[in-house]
């Protein structure tokens, strides 16, 4: 039960971050070119992503032996989590500017202004492309977290709930969700995914963790401390 909740939480948080970025693109397109085509583009992208989750998820779980699945998925999840954590460390230390949804929104609107003279399906394509590319990370998180931990329903539920919550929030405010603590969320999810990846990769090697799933909390503490050490070593005044 604890493992399922953890899987749900990891999928929810990871998907929430990416959904916020996808929402910014859809809002930028919808508010400047009208809603019909961008919404159709977003729906088509979500459908494509759902097909990817079901197809690759089933393929992985049914054809790959459990230990190999844990080793491969654990390794990929570790690399994925480390990438997010690495970026979060650089942002927290002030080396890289914080991700800003308002800035991303303004940039997208300005690009749309330049493309205004082109055909009608621009809104559809831009929304499709934005949602699909941002959604690839959600697909990866859901498949990796759900597949290796026997928790596909929990992972898919986490991803879907995050998407619905962010979409509903976007519908209400009709502007980029700049108040979502995206950088902090990415930092936290980076720590969680790196820990899960390490846990499963080691299980795939045949190692047995003391206290089983609870060890993930210990791993998270180690990675968090390492990231704080890295931030302390490279800290600079925050960039705008």
């Amino acid at each position: 039960m604890g493992q399922q909740i953890f899987i749900f939480g990891a999928a929810f948080l990871g998907s929430a971050v990416e959904s916020t970025e996808a929402l910014t693109i859809v809002l930028a397109v919808g508010l400047t070119r009208g809603w019909r085509d961008p919404l159709m583009g977003a729906a088509a992208a979500l459908l494509t992503l759902a097909v990817l989750v079901v197809a690759f998820g089933q393929l992985l779980v049914t054809t790959v032996p459990e230990s190999a699945l844990k080793l491969v998925v654990g390794t990929l999840l570790l690399l994925f989590g480390l990438r997010w954590l690495h970026r979060a460390v650089l942002r927290s230390a002030g080396v890289v500017a914080m991700h800003d949804e308002d800035h991303a929104y303004r940039q997208a609107v300005s690009q749309l202004g330049q493309a205004a003279a082109t055909r009608d399906w621009v809104g559809f394509v831009l929304a499709f492309k934005g949602v699909f590319l941002e959604g690839l990370e959600v697909v990866f998180i859901v498949i990796a977290v759900g597949g290796a931990g026997h928790g596909f329903p929990a992972a898919i539920a986490g991803g879907l709930v995050a998407m619905v919550v962010i979409a509903a929030a976007g519908l209400l405010v009709r502007k980029p969700l700049a108040r979502v603590p995206e950088n902090t969320l990415k930092y936290g999810v980076g720590v969680i995914l790196t820990s899960l990846g390490t846990f499963w990769a080691a299980e795939g090697m045949g190692a047995a963790w003391p206290l089983d799933f609870v060890s993930i909390l210990g791993l998270a503490a180690i990675y968090f401390l390492a990231s704080r050490l890295a931030i302390a070593l490279i800290r600079r005044p925050a960039l705008a």
């Binding site: 080793l71 390794t75 990929l76 570790l78 690399l79 994925f80 480390l82 990438r83 954590l85 690495h86 970026r87 460390v89 650089l90 230390a93 080396v95 890289v96 492309k129 699909f132 590319l133 690839l136 990370e137 990866f140 790196t194 390490t198 990769a201 080691a202 090697m205 045949g206 190692a207 963790w209 003391p210 791993l219 180690i222 990675y223 401390l225 390492a226 990231s227 050490l229 890295a230 931030i231 070593l233 490279i234 600079r236």
Partner: protein, 69 residues
């Protein structure tokens, strides 16, 4: 075509930010696999410490590299 290229770049970019860092992580895991089968728990601890250590090392190296730009 540019969309497919973006998608392919995004898929590779999911797990690879810095090729050297990714290679080091894979190397630590491979060495850990061998060590865990021989020495068990202590090898697991060393593997985790090395993984955490490379995070500090590469973040610092990246920060130094960016400060020179």
């Amino acid at each position: 075509m540019s969309f497919l290229r973006s998608a392919a770049r995004r898929v590779v970019g999911l797990v690879v930010g810095d090729w050297l860092q990714s290679a080091v992580v894979v190397f630590i895991l491979a060495a850990g696999w061998l060590a865990v089968s021989r020495f068990g728990g202590p090898a697991l601890v060393i593997m985790v410490v090395l993984l955490a250590g490379q995070l500090v090392w590469f973040a610092r190296a990246d920060a130094v590299r960016q400060s020179r730009l």
